[in-house]
Symmetry: C2
Subunit: 348 residues, 2 copies
C-alpha cells in the first residue's frame, strides 16, 4: 500500500513464511527447499524487494567487505598522478581478487575526518598522508587495521614503502659517476600554493632530495652545486615551468643534470628542454623518479628510479586483508632501483 520500501518482514508476511526463511532464501539456499525458495523469491520480485539491505547486514555481520583508501591529495589531483594511479591499480587488483570493494577517501577535503569516521570499511590503507593530517588521526581512532603506504612510518602500524633517501642517493651517484658537477633539483614544495595550514607535504619527496644532496655532499661538492626549484604540484606543466627558472641562473651555476623528484615533473623538464633547443642528454641529463609507464615511452626514454608502485599497492592490500583476517603482519620494504635509459649521459 504505502510507499515504504519493502523489507524482509514485508516479504515474509506476503509469502507466508518467517523472516528468517526469506533471509535464507538469499543467503543460504541450502537451508530451505528449492520450492519454498522459488516461491519466496517470486514474491520478493513481485513486491519489488531490492534484496537484503547491506547496511543492516553489515551491522549484524560486523563486516563491510570493503577497504578504505585514504589519499593525500584531493581525488582529482590523485587521478592525474600516474604514479599514484599505478599504486591504486595494485591495491585494486588484490582487493578485487579477494572480492572486496574499495572506498576512496580524499584526505584533503576531509578536514574534520568526517568521511573517515563514516566510512564503512574493514580496514584502511593510507597513501602518503602527512603525519599531522587530521584524517590520519581519525583513521587511527577508528581502531581498525591500518596499513601506512609510502610515508610516514607510524609506530605500531605496518607500512609498505621504499627507502626514498636511498633512492635519491642512487640518482646522485649515477649522475656523479657520469661526471656531472652542477645539478638542478625540481622539488615539489611542502606547502600548497594556497598556503593552507592543513597541507599534506609529501615527506617522501623531501627524502629523495635529501638522499640526493647527501650523495653530492659526500662527493665533496659544496651545497651551491645544487640549485633547487620548488613547484606547487607534481605535474608535467609544473616540470616545464621549472626549467625556465633553471635557465635564468648564471652560467657557472647552470646545471648540466636535473633530478626531478617525480616522473611527471621529469617529463615536463624533457618537454621544456626540447622546446628551448636543449638536447637531452647531450646538453642536459634528466632523471625522474617512480618509473611510470610513460617514462619508458618518452623521447628520449627517461632514466628514472623504479619503485614498483603497482607491487607496493598490492602489498598494501595484502597486509590490510591479512589483518582483517586477524593475523599480525610486518612492514614490507620494497627495493628501489635505478633504471638507466636515454635521458642521462656524460657531462659536457
Amino acid at each position: 500500500m504505502s510507499e515504504d520500501r519493502p523489507t524482509l518482514d514485508t516479504v515474509a508476511k506476503a509469502a507466508g513464511v518467517s523472516r528468517m526463511t526469506v533471509s535464507n532464501a538469499y543467503n543460504r539456499p541450502d537451508q530451505l527447499s528449492e520450492k519454498t525458495r522459488a516461491h519466496v523469491l517470486a514474491v520478493a520480485e513481485h513486491l519489488g524487494y531490492p534484496g537484503p539491505d547491506p547496511a543492516g547486514r553489515s551491522l549484524r555481520r560486523g563486516r563491510a567487505d570493503s577497504v578504505g583508501v585514504l589519499l593525500s591529495e584531493d581525488l582529482s589531483a590523485a587521478f592525474s598522478d600516474p604514479g599514484l594511479v599505478a599504486f591504486l591499480e595494485g591495491i585494486a587488483d588484490e582487493l578485487s581478487t579477494a572480492r572486496q570493494a574499495m572506498l576512496l577517501i580524499p584526505a584533503e577535503v576531509d578536514v574534520d575526518g568526517a568521511l573517515v569516521r563514516d566510512a564503512i570499511v574493514d580496514a584502511f590503507i593510507t597513501c602518503s598522508v602527512d603525519e599531522a593530517h587530521p584524517s590520519l588521526a581519525a583513521v587511527l581512532s577508528r581502531r581498525l587495521p591500518v596499513v601506512a603506504a609510502g610515508i610516514p612510518r607510524l609506530e605500531g602500524v605496518p607500512g609498505v614503502g621504499i627507502d626514498n633517501t636511498r633512492g635519491g642517493t642512487i640518482v646522485g651517484e649515477h649522475l656523479l659517476g657520469l661526471g656531472h658537477r652542477r645539478f638542478g633539483v625540481v622539488m615539489r614544495s611542502a606547502g600548497r600554493s594556497d598556503a593552507s595550514p592543513r597541507t599534506a607535504p609529501r615527506v617522501g619527496l623531501r627524502q629523495r632530495y635529501e638522499g640526493f644532496s647527501r650523495a653530492v655532499e659526500e662527493a665533496g661538492l659544496p651545497a651551491s652545486a645544487i640549485s633547487v626549484v620548488e613547484v606547487p604540484d607534481s605535474t608535467i606543466a609544473a616540470g616545464r615551468a621549472a626549467v625556465e627558472q633553471l635557465l635564468v641562473l648564471p652560467p657557472r651555476r647552470r646545471p648540466t643534470a636535473v633530478f626531478a623528484v617525480t616522473d611527471a615533473l621529469a617529463l615536463g623538464v624533457l618537454d621544456a628542454a626540447h622546446a628551448v633547443g636543449l638536447r637531452v642528454p647531450r646538453d642536459l641529463s634528466v632523471v625522474g623518479f617512480d618509473d611510470i609507464a610513460e617514462a619508458a615511452r618518452s623521447r628520449p626514454a627517461l632514466t628514472t628510479v623504479s619503485q614498483a608502485l603497482r607491487e607496493q599497492g598490492a602489498q598494501s592490500a595484502i597486509l590490510a586483508l591479512r589483518q582483517v583476517e586477524g593475523h599480525r603482519v610486518r612492514s614490507v620494504r620494497i627495493d628501489a632501483e635505478l633504471v638507466v635509459r636515454d635521458s642521462t649521459g656524460p657531462a659536457a
Copy 2:
C-alpha cells in the same frame, strides 16, 4: 574487562549518562553542556571507544554518504586506461566537494553481482557496462538512483554520454576531406581474448566504427576501402601490434589513414609507425578518440575526438547526487568534437 569493542552503551555506563547523551556528544554538540560533552569524550577516549559505528549509523539514518561506481573492466585494467581515469577524476571531484566517498566496484570480477548487492551506497554510476552484464542487473534491482555513463542508454535511467556514432562520422569526414580513400580501423574486439561468456564489449567503440564506416560509405566508397584490425584490449601495446597486421596487406588495400577507436591504441599506432620508418602524417595519417592528456603531448601531436571525459564524469556525479536528494533528472548529452593536430595530413 572483556575484549569486546566498546559501544555507546559501554561509554554511557562508564560516564554515568544515557546512551543518547553520548551519541549527542559526537553528533550534536549543541544538545548538551560543554562540560558534559568534555567528560563524555574523555571517558570515551579512556575506554578506547572508536566513535559511533558507521554501520549502525548508516542503518539508522538510511544514508551511506557514498556513491558506487561500477566499472566495466576489472579495476586493474581500468586504472591503466587514461580515458577512464579522466572520467573517474571528474566523478571524484564532484563527489568530494559534496563530501561523499566513492566506492569502486569492478564488474568484471563481480560475476554474481555480490559486490553490488553488498555495496553500502546511496546511488550507482555505471561506466560503460554492457547491457547484458549481471552486475548491471544487480544494480537495477537495488532500486537506488542510477546514472548510466557512456553506454548503454537504459530505459528510465538517466545517462551521460556522447554520440559515439557521430564521433566516428566526423573522423571519417575529416579523413575523406583530406583525400584519403583507403582506411585502417583499429578496433577493440567485442569478446575478450579468453572468450569468456561474461564479456563486456564496449558498445560505444563499435558505434565509433559504425559512424566512421557510414561516412566512408556515404562518400560512395566500397566496404573494402576499410580494413579492420581487431585487438584484444585498448592499450598502447595492442595499438602497436595492430600496425603489423596493416602492413601485411597487399599494397592496393594498404591504408593511407588509420582510425584507432581509442587514443591509447592510436598512440601505439604512432609508435609502431615510427619504428618501421613510416612518417606521420606524410606516409600515414592517424586519428584517435578520447583526447586523453597524452594525446596532446605525443609526437606528432595526435588528431583525435575530444569528448570531455572529465566533464562527463562530473555530470554523472551531479546527476547521481541530485537523484539522491530526491530530484528527477534528465540525461545529459556531451558534444564530441574533432581536435585536429599534427598526425593527419593530405593523402599521399
